[in-house]
């Protein structure tokens, strides 16, 4: 007995010791946090904030001398973050005017000029979510205004379009620098163009953004700050595509950092050593891993964004970029916030709890609209506010009857292709009830998402609730009913519609509701929830009869970048995937829609829009495509757009209460958020 106990105690100690060692070494491995800017010590700053505002020029030196005195941190007259001022004073960083471009971007703040410092805490559910979250600091070449119709330069100082719409000349800001202080020039663009985009080893085919008229564009560097992109055909959708947060891009990669990983530039032996050391098979794998388009896995890569990754997570830590190229209206360098930190949680519910507990400064990802009552109730205790930002994308639950159904049920195929059947499915839905039950009654009408067709209400006639009309249509098709009113197929069995539902509770709940409406008109539905990993193979097979997801509805010209929901132009045009694949692949895969069919017409209109330079004409074409969509009842539509929920700490300011064009999942103005002292 005694012996055994000793043995056990020994084992226990050994484990504990090993664990402790492991834990300690683990935290030793991650870089020690840099000396925190004292702005974090909120209590000390409270009073100082009011009294110190008169003090001006001495800000830099003073905070450099005593890092615990953060009086200046809350002073809106400081031109740069005290954290950087300190480094400048210590000679580790050039002064502000050498770091800013000659012509920095001036950002209009949303509420007021901010104070520097602080940490923006967010929660993510893992690496994939962290990658997605980096869209908050996306820097597109151009951005669109609220209406999605007018663009203005952002990363570019200017963009000029030739009269024929084929050549786009971009100007980079003189003196614009990477986060490590190296200049950002056309050399970086040419490195991407020659070394990455057009290099068949790294990119088996050139990126879509460069393609027009079946040929890749030619990029030329005119001087250090000017380059031109020339397409074979006029490219009317080039700029909306560039602006779109999730779109393709003329990538900005730091050539001075990446060249060491590229066979065309690097010394062969040194490169071979790097490949070997990283455990890669060849240099292509190596550079692919380093490119890191998501900017959340490679802390070594310099960036142009407001914050630069310094620690790979969890937690992922981004520190302010001292060379960031934007200033506020008072000429003070942005971003206001020093550090952006993505805490890791393992489950969405923990995001909810952290938000309620006030541990997150600003959170919109993984925040579910249906939890609104919970968030509202705990506002005071958690010291946060709930921003309900109306969003223009996407529409509520949408069901896509697959009109390219490739399964072996001929009868079902006939039904899905019959416009009367699709109309009946639409007419059967009680949209008010669905809105109430699934979306807290908050979503708008479908028609609101079609501003271009506002004066053609007859297009939306099938979006009313009229089960009798639906039954009449089914009678007209010739579907017999049994004694319970269930519709029968030619074999005399009740018809069962099978519906694949995208993974997620609101999709599943909504689909169950829809299934019950269809039962009212005599159609049974069998639902299946399709998990992430199985979704794509399922869509790709074209064998699903119907699928439930959402319809995209980004507004204005930007709707073209997500046209898949309106015309069969992509393999994810769920109601016509074979046609979409045909279009997308340039005719090598999928099926060609019959000539003169509405689907083909929609594709041709898209072709036309691409080579149209005049944006008014582009909107006209868009209206025509939308009209085709509604006239032919390509989808079963339920309700319109709703709101996004943002949980924002009360001292976290300058957060807009709308979602802007294009950037539906993110916020373009994160750099001017600030934390009030």
């Amino acid at each position: 007995m005694h012996k055994k106990q000793t043995f056990w105690r020994g084992v226990a100690y050994a484990f504990l010791l090993a664990t402790l060692v492991a834990m300690l070494s683990a935290c030793g491995a991650t870089a020690p946090p840099p000396a925190e800017p004292s702005a974090n010590d909120a209590p000390a700053a409270d009073e100082a904030a009011d009294t110190a505002s008169a003090d001006t020029e001495s800000a830099d030196t003073e905070s450099a001398e005593s890092s615990s005195d953060d009086a200046m941190a809350s002073d809106t007259s400081a031109q740069e973050s005290p954290m950087l001022a300190e480094m400048v004073a210590a000679g580790e960083l050039p002064p502000l005017d050498e770091r800013l471009p000659v012509n920095p971007v001036v950002v209009e703040v949303i509420e007021e000029l901010g104070t520097y410092g602080g940490t923006w805490d967010m929660a993510v559910t893992g690496q994939a979510d962290a990658n997605g979250a980096t869209s908050y600091s996306h820097e597109p070449w151009v951005i669109y205004d609220d209406t999605c119709s007018e663009w203005k330069p952002n990363l570019a100082e200017a963009v000029e379009i030739s009269d024929d719409g084929k050549t786009f000349t971009f100007t980079i800001r003189e003196g614009h620098k990477w986060s490590d202080g190296e200049p950002f020039t056309t050399e970086d663009i040419m490195f991407w163009y020659e070394g990455i985009a057009m290099n068949p080893e790294v990119s088996p085919s050139p990126p879509n953004i460069l393609m027009a008229g079946g040929e890749p564009a030619v990029i030329e560097a005119i001087d250090d700050y000017t380059f031109s992109v020339t397409f074979a055909e006029p490219n009317g959708l080039f700029l909306p595509d560039l602006a779109f947060v999730f779109g393709d891009n003329i990538q900005t990669y730091p050539a001075h950092y990446l060249k060491q990983f590229h066979a065309d530039y690097a010394d062969a032996d040194a490169l071979a050593a790097l490949v070997e050391e990283g455990g890669f098979e060849d240099w292509v794998q190596l550079i692919s891993a380093k490119l890191d388009a998501n900017v959340a896995t490679n802390p070594d890569m310099p960036t142009l964004r407001a914050w630069k990754l310094t620690d790979i997570g969890p937690p992922w830590i981004f520190e302010r970029n001292p060379y960031y190229y934007k200033v506020d209206t008072a000429g003070r360098q942005l971003p206001y916030i020093d550090q952006w930190r993505l805490q890791a949680v393992e489950d969405g519910q923990m995001v909810t709890l952290k938000a309620i507990a006030g541990e997150l400064s600003y959170q919109a990802r993984s925040v579910s609209f249906t939890d609104l009552p919970l968030y509202m109730q705990n506002q005071d205790q958690g010291d946060y506010r709930v921003i309900k930002a109306p969003t223009e994308h996407p529409l509520g639950l949408t069901i896509f009857p697959n009109q390219n159904y490739a399964g072996d049920d001929e009868f079902m195929k006939g039904l899905l292709e019959d416009i009367r059947f699709r109309k009946a499915l639409n007419l059967a839905i009680d949209r008010d009830e669905l809105n109430e039950l699934i979306y807290l009654g908050e979503n708008g009408d479908v028609a609101d998402a079609f501003p271009l067709l506002a004066d053609e209400p007859e297009l939306f006639a099938h979006l009313t609730y009229d089960p009798d009309a639906a039954k009449a249509l089914l009678d007209e098709i010739g579907l017999e009913t049994d004694s319970n009113g269930m519709r029968l197929n030619p074999d005399g069995d009740p018809i069962v519609l099978s519906l694949d539902v995208f993974s997620g509770q609101s999709y599943m709940d909504g689909s169950q509701l829809v299934a019950s409406y269809w039962e009212e008109i005599g159609l049974q539905t069998s639902l299946e929830e399709i998990s992430y990993d199985l979704w794509w193979p399922r869509i790709d097979s074209f064998e699903y009869p119907m699928t439930a997801y959402v319809k995209d509805s980004i507004g204005g010209l930007a709707r073209y970048v997500y046209l898949r929901s309106y015309a069969p132009v992509s393999s994810s045009s769920y109601w016509g995937p074979a046609w979409g694949t045909w279009y997308q692949s340039g005719g090598t895969e999928g099926t060609e829609p019959p000539a003169d069919s509405p689907a083909r017409k929609a594709q041709e209109l898209f072709d036309e829009a691409k080579v149209t330079v005049d944006s008014a004409r582009q909107l006209e074409i868009l209206a025509e495509i939308e009209r085709l969509d509604l006239e032919n009842v390509w989808e079963v539509l339920t309700v319109g757009t709703g709101s996004n929920i943002k949980i924002v700490k009360n001292n976290f300011r300058n957060v807009p209460d709308v979602n802007y064009c294009v950037l539906y999942d993110s916020d373009a103005w994160a750099e001017q958020y600030f934390i009030a002292q």
Partner: protein, 332 residues
């Protein structure tokens, strides 16, 4: 003895080869691959992946190669100690696993200790007071722990702690300690929180333990040697604790080997709800996103530990309980 161990190790080789095939097959079985789940995930975020990007990714991850090529690449590297790269994290699998293994082992160990501390006394008490009211009561409490689904219990505890005390018990420490060095307050913070998973995981395990202990002890109590110990004037407590309990414990010693894989994987569900950075959620996510090398290497690692654990158990069993001869365990 040495011959027995060698023989067992030889048997383990074909088993491990089979397991490696199956671990890989598990990742290959579902339709699609990492890219298809990657695309679907981006899809949900609103992103698009172009055909050219897709081709580049396929090439980069080697997903366009035939299955047997990928299997061979993986297993030959694995044998050399290279577990491959995770697609999603863009980091070596080894780093990802090592980062989380310490905490996982700590939590598993603590909950095991908790189970023993609770279950053994109750088991002994129940056996010596069979069919008494307290026997029923303790057994009831023990079973209650098994019956409550642990994910729900964890969530309810989280909410209760927040709504009553205003404390968010999720995670290993509060947000104010993120990135801080391991100072005393931080260690204390961890100690303050770690009882939650310990108790939740522990409650699920106590019932089985109580039941086994009670039954084993009931077996021993009527034995003649207990009678003679009692007759020789030992107090009742001494009589029970000195011999029968000792023998009743021996099966537990043999299960220590089985704890080995559990130490690094036993906490998936509770860890997900409580947001603890253990290995379980990592594996689950890897499986869901078909992050091939991360999942396969992880499964392989667990399986090897299980095989070793079984061997350790069997050897311990022989060492602890001389009544068992090698013949009996040879095949088991």
């Amino acid at each position: 003895m040495a011959r027995y161990i060698v023989q067992r190790l030889l048997y383990a080789i074909p088993t491990l080869i089979m397991i490696s095939l199956v671990s890989f097959a598990i990742i290959e079985l579902p339709p699609g691959d990492y890219l298809s789940s990657y695309i679907a995930k981006l899809e949900q975020q609103g992103s698009r992946v172009s055909q050219s990007e897709l081709e580049a990714l396929q090439q980069r991850y080697g997903l366009n190669q035939p299955v047997y090529v990928r299997y061979w690449k993986w297993i030959s590297n694995f044998v050399r100690g290279d577990m491959g790269m995770s697609f999603e994290w863009n980091r070596p699998v080894k780093d990802l696993v090592m980062e989380r293994i310490g905490l996982t082992a700590l939590i598993s160990l603590l909950s095991t200790l908790f189970i023993w501390a609770v279950a053994l006394p109750i088991g002994i008490y129940s056996a010596t007071h069979q069919y008494s009211l307290s026997d029923y009561l303790f057994t009831f409490i023990g079973f209650l722990g098994v019956g409550i689904p642990d994910f729900l219990l964890a969530l309810v505890i989280l909410w209760w702690a927040w709504s009553t005390f205003g404390v968010n018990l999720g995670g290993l420490y509060g947000p104010e300690f993120i990135g801080e060095p391991w100072t005393w307050p931080k260690v204390m913070e961890v100690v303050k929180r770690i009882w939650v998973p310990m108790v939740i995981i522990g409650t699920a395990g106590t019932a089985g333990m109580i039941r086994t202990m009670r039954a084993n002890l009931l077996d021993e109590l009527p034995q003649p040697y207990v009678e003679s110990a009692r007759a020789s004037g030992l107090s009742e407590t001494e009589t029970v604790l000195k011999y029968p309990v000792r023998i009743a414990l021996s099966p537990f010693v043999s299960t220590v080997g089985w704890m080995l894989p559990g130490l690094i994987s036993g906490t998936t569900i509770v860890a997900i709800v409580l947001s603890l950075p253990t290995t379980g959620p990592l594996l689950l996510k890897a499986l869901l996103s078909q992050d091939m090398y991360l999942a396969a290497s992880f499964i392989m690692l667990l399986s090897i530990l299980t095989v070793i654990g079984t061997l350790v158990s069997d050897i311990l069993l022989v060492l602890v309980d001389p009544r068992i001869r090698f013949d009996d365990v040879q095949a088991g």
